[in-house]
Symmetry: C2
Subunit: 351 residues, 2 copies
DNA sequence: TGTTAGCACTCATCCCTTTCGAGTGCTAAC
DNA sequence: GTTAGCACTCGAAAGGGATGAGTGCTAACA
C-alpha cells in the first residue's frame, strides 16, 4: 500500500498536510509551489493533486477551492510520513523536572500531568489515574464511621492509597472491625486484592469465623472500588480555539459530551495492551469525535501497564508533536510514579 | 427608593423583565400591550418606558429597538418584585428524594447536588464540599506508606473522612507511628482539629515526648489540608445555550476561566455568613462574570454553616426559580448531610 | 514523455445597496 | 391622562456585482 505513492506525491501530500495543520485553510497549488521543498510549477502540482484526489487522499470543499487532506491522508501521514522527533531534549527535560516537583500524592501528579499535556500541546488532555488491580496489599485499616458504615483504607505496595466507604452489617462492633482488620493485615498482606477475594478468602474462611461473610462482602466492594480509575481532563475549552469549532452548536455538543465524562474512560480504556494509538476522525467509535483525532498512550509502573493518557484535538492536529510529547510524558509519568511509590517496581515482579 | 416607582411602572418593568428573561430579545411596547396583565395601549406604555429609561431601569440597544432591562432593574426585581415561590412541592419532593438515594459518601452527594442543580435550572452549577474546620475528631489513623511518608486518615464526628499524605521525619518507624496515633486517639478525640493544634498540643507536649515536634508538624499540615474545600462544577457548557454567548471568543474566555477554577472558590467563599446572595453583572468582582449573575446560598450541617453552592447564568436568569431551587437544595443538602453523617448535629452544639 | 504556460471557468467572500419591519418619539385629538 | 396617527430610525435580511483564489484543460516546449 505504501508504494501506491511515488516520492513526489508523498512530498506534495506531506506539504499539504503540514500546511493544513498550520492554517486550517484549503491548500492551493500556487501556495505549494512557493515552498522551498517543492520545486515544481503550480500546473504540475495540480496534476499530482488531481491524482491524489482520485486516490482518496485529498478532498475539495468545492470546485474552486484548494485541497484538504482526507482521513486516509492523515492515516498515511501518521503511519509513514511524519517525523516523530518533534520534541527537543530541553522540552523533555522540562517535562521531567516539572513532574518530579510534585512529589506529594498520586492524584496531584496525575492532575499536573494533565495540565502540562494540555499546556504543551494546546489540545484537550485526558489522563487516567493508575489502576490498582494488580497492586499488592500493604495495609488495610477499617475505621468505624457511624452505625452501619466503616471506612476502609487500603495502602498498596505501589504506595497508592484508596479509601472507600463500606456498608457494615448491624451486628458488627468497633472491636469486631479492629479484629478483622488485624487478621486481614496479618494474613493478606502481599497478595493482590483479586487474589485475596478469589483465592485466599476461601482458605481463610474458618479462621475468620462468623465474620467471613462480612469480610467477603467488604472485599467485594473494595475490589469494585479499586477498579475505578478517575480521569482528569484539562483544556476542554481549548477546542474553541480551532475554526473547526467556531460553530457554537458544535462546540456545545462536544463540550457537553466531554463533561458527561463517559466517553473519556471509553476512549482511554480502548487501548489496553497497545502502547500508542492514534484514532483519526471516524476511526473513533463515538460520533461526537468524528471530527477529532484522539492519540492515546499507556503508561507503566514497574513494568506493568497501569493506565493511559491522551490528547483530543481536531483531525488536523500536529501528530508528530503530540506523539512525541505523549511518548515523553508516558515515560516521565511512569518514572515519577515508580519512584514516588517507592518499592513498587521490585515487589511487582515476583509473581 | 422603592417608592420611586408607582404600581404601573412596576408592573411594566416586571413584564419587560419576565419577557426578556424568556426571549433575550429587546421588548417593545406593542408586545407588552398584548399581554393580559397589562391593559394599556402601546403609546401609553411607550411613555412609561421612556420614563423608566430616564430613571436608569431600561436601556436601548439602539433607537429603533425595544428596551432591555438594566442591571439596576434586575436589582430592583430581585429585591422587590419577583415572586419567590416558583418551585412546586413536587419539585421540592423530587430534590429531596433524589438526594437521599445517594447515601454513600459525602463526595457523591456533593456531585449529585451539583448535577441536579444544573439539571433543574439549566445553568452552570457550583457546589462546594463542606469544610471540616469545626468538626471534631473521632478517629485518626497514621498508616506508614513508604520511607518518609505516611497516610493520615481522619474521621470526624460529622462522619466526613479525609486522608492526607504526610511527610514523616526519617527517624520515625512504623511502631512510632502506631504509638503516636494511639496516643492521639486516646487524648484528642472530641476536640476540634484547630483546638488540638493550638490549645491541646502544648498541654500534651511532655506526654508525647520526643515525637512532639513530629506530631505538631503533622497536625499543622492536616489542619491546612482539612481547610481545603473542593468544588464541583456541572454544566459549564450550558452557557453556550444562551445567545449572550453565541460569540465563540466570549464563550471560550468564560469557559477557560471556569476551568481554571480559582474564580469559583472566590465566588463561593464571598458569602460567608450570608444565607443567600445575588450578584448581578458588574456586582461581581471577576470581570469575566460581568455579563453573568451569580446566585449563591450557604448550607448548614447541625446548625453550622459549612459550605455553599451557587448558580452562574446570564444576567437575565430566572432569579425567582433559581432562588427557590437554591433555597430548597440548601435545605435538602443540609438535611441529607446531617442525617448521613449521623451524630453530627448533636455533638456539634456542645462547645 | 513529462513539464509548463495560458486561458476559460467556478465559486466563496466581500461589499454595497435596497427593502422590510419592528419600534420609537412626537403631536394632536379624545 | 390616554390614545391614535404618523414620520422617522436603524438593524437584519436579501439581492447583486466585483474580486480573487483556485481549478481543469489544452497546447506548446524541452
Amino acid at each position: 500500500m505504501t508504494q501506491l505513492l511515488d516520492v513526489r506525491k508523498m512530498n506534495i501530500l506531506r506539504a499539504i498536510i503540514d500546511d493544513y495543520i498550520l492554517t486550517a485553510a484549503p491548500v492551493g497549488s500556487r501556495t505549494l509551489s512557493k515552498r522551498d521543498d517543492i520545486e515544481l510549477s503550480p500546473a504540475t502540482i495540480r496534476n499530482e493533486m488531481s491524482d491524489l484526489t482520485e486516490l482518496g487522499f485529498l478532498e475539495q470543499p468545492h470546485t474552486s477551492a484548494g485541497r484538504v487532506p482526507s482521513e486516509k491522508a492523515y492515516r498515511l501521514y501518521v503511519n509513514n510520513i511524519m517525523d516523530r522527533a518533534h520534541i527537543t531534549d530541553d522540552e523533555a527535560e522540562y517535562i521531567r523536572r516539572h513532574l518530579e516537583q510534585r512529589v506529594s500524592e498520586v492524584g496531584d501528579v496525575i492532575k499536573e500531568t494533565a495540565r502540562m499535556l494540555s499546556g504543551i500541546t494546546n489540545y484537550t488532555s485526558v489522563v487516567q489515574s493508575p489502576h490498582l488491580r494488580n497492586a499488592r496489599l500493604k495495609h488495610i485499616s477499617l475505621i468505624p464511621v457511624s452505625e452501619g458504615s466503616a471506612l476502609a483504607v487500603v495502602v498498596t505496595n505501589s504506595g497508592a492509597t484508596n479509601s472507600t466507604m463500606l456498608k457494615v452489617p448491624k451486628g458488627i462492633t468497633a472491636q469486631d472491625l479492629e479484629k478483622i482488620s488485624k487478621l486481614m493485615n496479618e494474613r493478606m498482606i502481599g497478595y493482590r486484592l483479586t487474589d485475596v477475594h478469589k483465592t485466599l478468602l476461601p482458605l481463610l474462611r474458618e479462621e475468620i469465623g462468623e465474620q467471613a461473610d462480612t469480610v467477603a462482602e467488604m472485599l467485594g466492594s473494595l475490589d469494585k472500588d479499586l477498579g475505578k480509575q478517575s480521569v482528569e481532563v484539562v483544556g476542554a475549552s481549548k477546542m474553541l480555539d480551532f475554526p473547526e469549532y467556531s460553530d457554537v452548536a458544535k462546540a456545545k455538543s462536544f463540550l457537553s459530551e466531554i463533561e458527561r465524562g463517559e466517553m473519556l474512560s471509553e476512549v482511554l480504556s480502548e487501548n489496553e495492551g497497545v502502547e500508542i494509538s492514534v484514532r483519526i476522525g471516524n476511526e473513533n467509535d463515538n460520533p461526537e469525535l468524528k471530527d477529532c483525532s484522539v492519540v492515546t498512550v499507556s503508561y507503566r509502573v514497574g513494568g506493568e501497564q497501569v493506565g493511559s493518557m491522551g490528547v483530543i484535538g481536531p483531525t488536523r492536529m500536529d501528530y508528530g508533536k503530540v506523539v512525541a510529547v505523549l511518548r515523553c510524558m508516558s515515560e516521565s509519568l511512569g518514572k515519577v510514579l515508580s519512584s514516588m511509590l517507592g518499592s513498587g517496581s521490585e515487589n511487582n515482579n515476583d509473581q
